[in-house]
């Protein structure tokens, strides 16, 4: 469904992404993990159209969308959330979600109905009439999710929707994400919470210092020496193995 081919992104002298490729098949939940500063959010920026790649291509459902504006990609069915939550502070929760819903529903009544349906799905219903700036962190994360969902996407890009949530909040939101996928939305998620990655993803890509260093089912990726070294430093994998034998 989504295919990123050999994408590089250079900011002046800094090569943020080097020759990274990934593919997301229809109906999957694919994870994108990696240490801080690996370039995950930059890659999301390239996929959603906010950052033009220096080289490489992005294709969605067979069409090359590398040079397309973000709002046109949203119309095609790609929605993203932001790692740093970005509510429209002057609007209520309901109106925030409706901005997303207006993409497919021109009439106010329909857009508001869609906003309410999405709010039910992510558990924001009790907060609908409150101000968006009055939400807790967990509430804002749900709002990010709700707004993106209200555009009725086919591919959902989730940028750390679980970061900053406590364990019980994470437990509450995992089934929500699974329900979204079961509703027919393909998901690509950046996540640091490994418990969630293990529980949700069928397929995981690991980005470190701008390069894709591993790809496969989450269990196998976690045991990959290259991945362990990327997180814990050079030589760690070997030391851990020795430690296990001793």
């Amino acid at each position: 469904m989504l295919s990123v081919e050999r994408v590089s992104k250079r900011f002046g002298g800094l090569l943020a992404i080097a020759d990274a490729s990934l593919a997301v098949p229809q109906g999957a939940i694919v994870g994108l993990i990696g240490p801080n500063g690996a370039g995950k959010t930059t890659l999301f920026g390239v996929i959603s159209g906010f950052l033009p790649p220096t080289t490489g291509t992005v294709a969605f459902e067979g069409a090359d969308i590398t040079g397309e504006e973000p709002h046109l990609r949203a119309r095609r069915g790609i929605a993203r959330t932001f790692q740093i939550v970005q509510p429209f502070a002057g609007l209520s929760v309901r109106e925030n979600i409706a901005v997303g819903a207006y993409l497919r529903h021109a009439r106010r009544a329909e857009a508001l109905a869609q906003a309410e349906a999405v709010a039910n799905l992510v558990g924001l219903r009790p907060m609908l009439d409150g101000s968006a700036s009055g939400l807790t962190v967990a509430g804002r994360k749900r709002l990010e999710l709700a707004r993106a969902l209200a555009t009725e996407p086919r591919l959902l890009l989730l940028d750390e929707v679980l970061a900053g949530l406590n364990p019980s909040e994470i437990r509450d939101i995992l089934p929500v994400i699974r329900r979204i996928r079961d509703g027919g939305v393909t998901i690509l998620m950046i996540e640091h919470v490994m418990q969630a990655v293990m529980a949700l993803c069928e397929d995981v890509y690991v980005l470190a210092q701008g390069r894709m260093i591993a790809h496969g089912p989450p269990q196998r990726v976690c045991e990959d020496p290259a991945v362990i070294e990327a997180y814990l430093g050079h030589g760690t994998a070997a030391r851990l193995r020795e430690g296990a034998h001793a």
Partner: protein, 317 residues
């Protein structure tokens, strides 16, 4: 839109429409000028209040409307009503062009304000120098008070036309507020990147807003020139109208439907009163305007209408 959305607008329009029935010529003059400023402020508010793009050059649209209306009549003998309609279109076109240059270059905040101010000043200097606009002397429309000429013996008729325009724009703003365009405009104001991610074409949204704002403010210019039958560079493109438009909107309530109208009436009311008390000091009303702006931004950032709304509505915390 529901009946409750329209009720305050209808009430305000009826209240205003009664005034010309018994008002003196002095009061009518005051009312008309305040309404022209209100209309200009409504244009500013659509772009600045709902769209978050603060224009300092509303004069560019006001003057274009006024000059176009006058020049078409004088130079080409075009009917006044048609000329005014074309003046409004010209205001929208100028606004679109300025918006296209500024927004495509991603100017915002004070940079956008400065660029709009610069455009208005360029127009002022050109209008002052060009023959088409009558140079420094400006343009005088021949007095011929017939309804077909958009000129009336009675000032009350002019006041009613101005009230109708202001009322129509309030209804328009309410409709925008309650619709898709309004939601997208506010979304772009609050967070442009988040809006784009949700499929909002930020450039097109801002261009629509500035074109509408240009048309509304140009309409104020058209009314002004038909009433006073005179336009020159200082009146048409001078900074006074840019400043009064944004003052009225800010004091009245940024981003509210009634705010610019209430603000314009309040400002001009206070201005007239002080002129009455301290007529010896020229410009005392401007000093007061400045003071009111400081007080509003410091103590009632949501303006008169916003503060009243907060007082009457029970707080939901």
């Amino acid at each position: 839109m529901t009946a409750r959305d329209l009720l305050p607008i209808v009430a305000l329009v009826v209240l205003l429409a009664v005034v010309p029935l018994f008002a003196s010529n002095v009061l009518l003059n005051f009312l008309f000028t305040a309404l022209v400023v209100a209309l200009a402020a409504q244009g500013w508010n659509l772009l600045g209040g709902f769209g978050g793009q603060f224009s300092f050059g509303q004069a560019a649209f006001f003057g274009t409307g006024a000059y176009m209306t006058a020049a078409l009549q004088i130079r080409l003998g075009v009917n006044a009503w048609l000329a005014a309609g074309l003046g409004i279109l010209a205001g929208a076109a100028v606004a679109w062009a300025i918006g296209f240059m500024a927004f495509r270059a991603r100017l915002r905040g004070s940079y956008f304000a400065l660029v709009t101010l610069a455009f208005a000043e360029v127009f002022r200097i050109l209008a002052n120098a060009s023959d088409v606009t009558g140079g420094a002397a400006g343009l005088l429309i021949r007095l011929d008070p017939r309804p077909a000429n958009f000129q009336f013996e009675s000032r009350a008729v002019f006041a009613w036309i101005a009230i109708a325009c202001v009322g129509a724009v309030m209804v328009l703003c309410r409709a925008i507020e309650r619709g898709r365009f309004g939601a997208q405009l506010v979304a772009v104001r609050d967070n442009e990147d988040a809006a784009r991610a949700l499929g909002v074409d930020a450039l097109a949204t801002k261009l629509r807003a500035i074109s509408l704002a240009g048309a509304i403010t140009a309409a104020a210019g058209c009314l002004y020139v038909q009433y006073f039958l005179l336009i020159n560079a200082q009146i048409g493109y001078g900074t006074w109208i840019s400043v009064e438009a944004l003052l009225a909107a800010i004091v009245g309530g940024v981003g509210t439907v009634l705010g610019p109208v209430i603000g314009a009436l309040a400002l001009h009311g206070v201005g007239e009163l002080t002129k009455g008390f301290a007529s010896a000091i020229t410009g005392i009303d401007l000093v007061l305007f400045g003071l009111l702006l400081v007080l509003t931004t410091a103590f009632a950032p949501s303006g008169i209408v916003g503060s009243l709304a907060r007082l009457t509505r029970p707080r939901t915390a």
